[in-house]
Amino acid sequence: MQLLDVLAALLVVGAAAAFTFGAMALARASDVEAIYYLVIGIVALRAGVQLVRSGASV
């Protein structure tokens, strides 16, 4: 397992954590905070997947 694979796994786990924080903020009716965490989760998840993809175009 390369270093980038570890980084990708960490990004996916971080995305899951950001999603969880976003859902908790949404439950507290903190909509701006929820959107912020959800955006972080989406971007982190996308970055993690892009790190491990092989051969395909961007």
Binding site: Q2, A15, A23, A47, V49, S54
Partner: protein, 292 residues
């Protein structure tokens, strides 16, 4: 499929119950498959019949004020449905190898007793299944008519019961689905099938981690008092869980990709816009939080 190199002789063919791989099945499993393959029309009708019984007959028989005779009639209906396949199967196994009974000539009406004497096992089974079930159900409804009143019968349940009875009638009237007798001749004994490529280990761990993360998200937001927000939180957690499972699955599949892996620099360059965006969003959040 035949590869054309050798023609399997009938002696080398496996029995119809054996898998294509040639490995023998356990005896109990083979017996079960053979029994399932030899079901007749009454067995096919038993499934929708039981469904119709559970929806339309059982609630009436066990409704408040229904007499004991209604319950007995309902049980008889279930017995008719359940025992008819065994009756049909037993009669079919007895009549195997025996000459079929002569059928009455067309246009010539036999007396009732003579007609009944020409019935074979499947005919008896079908009569027992159809008439036993229908008459017992009619008895139940006659003894407990209040259970079918519009005030006590739910509309959806009534419609589902109609569908069940229609399927029972269709399955009872139609011929039994038989297996193709020539199918056994098309199978070729061979060794166990092997996959074209071996999957690397660890894919299940990736998916399991993704599922665990997705499930952990589902524990959030169950104490929300406002219904609309509670639904929104559930929707968001489900969507986020699906996204995480999709991400971990993509990572697992990327390990198995047959294409040539990219260099580390190329992978980093491709993910760089998303990484930069992530850093910017995080820094913006930190800055806004600090300014407050």
């Amino acid at each position: 499929m035949n590869d054309g190199t050798s023609e399997a002789s009938p002696d080398s063919l496996p029995p119809s119950s054996a898998p294509v791989s040639g490995r023998p099945l356990p005896r109990r499993r083979r017996w079960l498959l053979e029994r399932m393959a030899s079901v007749g029309a009454s067995a096919q009708a038993a499934i929708p019949g039981l469904y119709a019984w559970a929806i339309t007959v059982a609630p009436a028989a066990w409704s408040r004020g229904a007499p004991l005779l209604a319950k007995v009639a309902a049980v008889v209906g279930v017995l008719a449905l359940v025992t008819a396949p065994f009756l049909e199967g037993a009669a079919a196994s007895v009549s195997d190898g025996a000459d079929p009974k002569p059928s009455p000539a067309r246009g010539k009406r036999l007396p009732l007793l003579g007609t009944v004497r020409t019935w074979t096992g499947p005919t008896w089974a079908r009569a027992w299944s159809v008439w036993g079930f229908v008459l017992s159900s009619a008895t139940v409804w006659a003894l407990a008519p209040a259970a079918l009143s519009s005030a006590r019968l739910d509309g959806v349940r009534g419609a589902a019961g109609m569908v069940g009875w229609a399927l029972f009638a269709f399955a009872s009237a139609g011929p039994a689905l038989r297996s193709d007798p020539s199918a056994a001749g098309r199978t070729v004994a061979s060794t166990s099938l092997k996959p074209r490529s071996e999957l690397p280990r660890g894919d299940g761990a990736y998916v399991a981690v993704g599922v665990a993360l997705a499930l952990a998200m589902q524990g959030v937001g169950w104490g929300v008092a406002v219904p609309e927000r509670a639904v929104l939180v559930r929707l968001v957690t489900v969507v986020c869980g699906i996204a995480v499972v999709s991400g971990t699955t993509s990572i697992a599949l990327a390990r198995d990709a047959a294409r040539a892996p990219l260099s580390r620099r190329l992978r980093l360059r491709r993910a760089l816009p998303w990484l930069l965006m992530l850093v910017l969003v995080v820094l913006a959040g930190v800055a806004v939080g600090t300014a407050r």
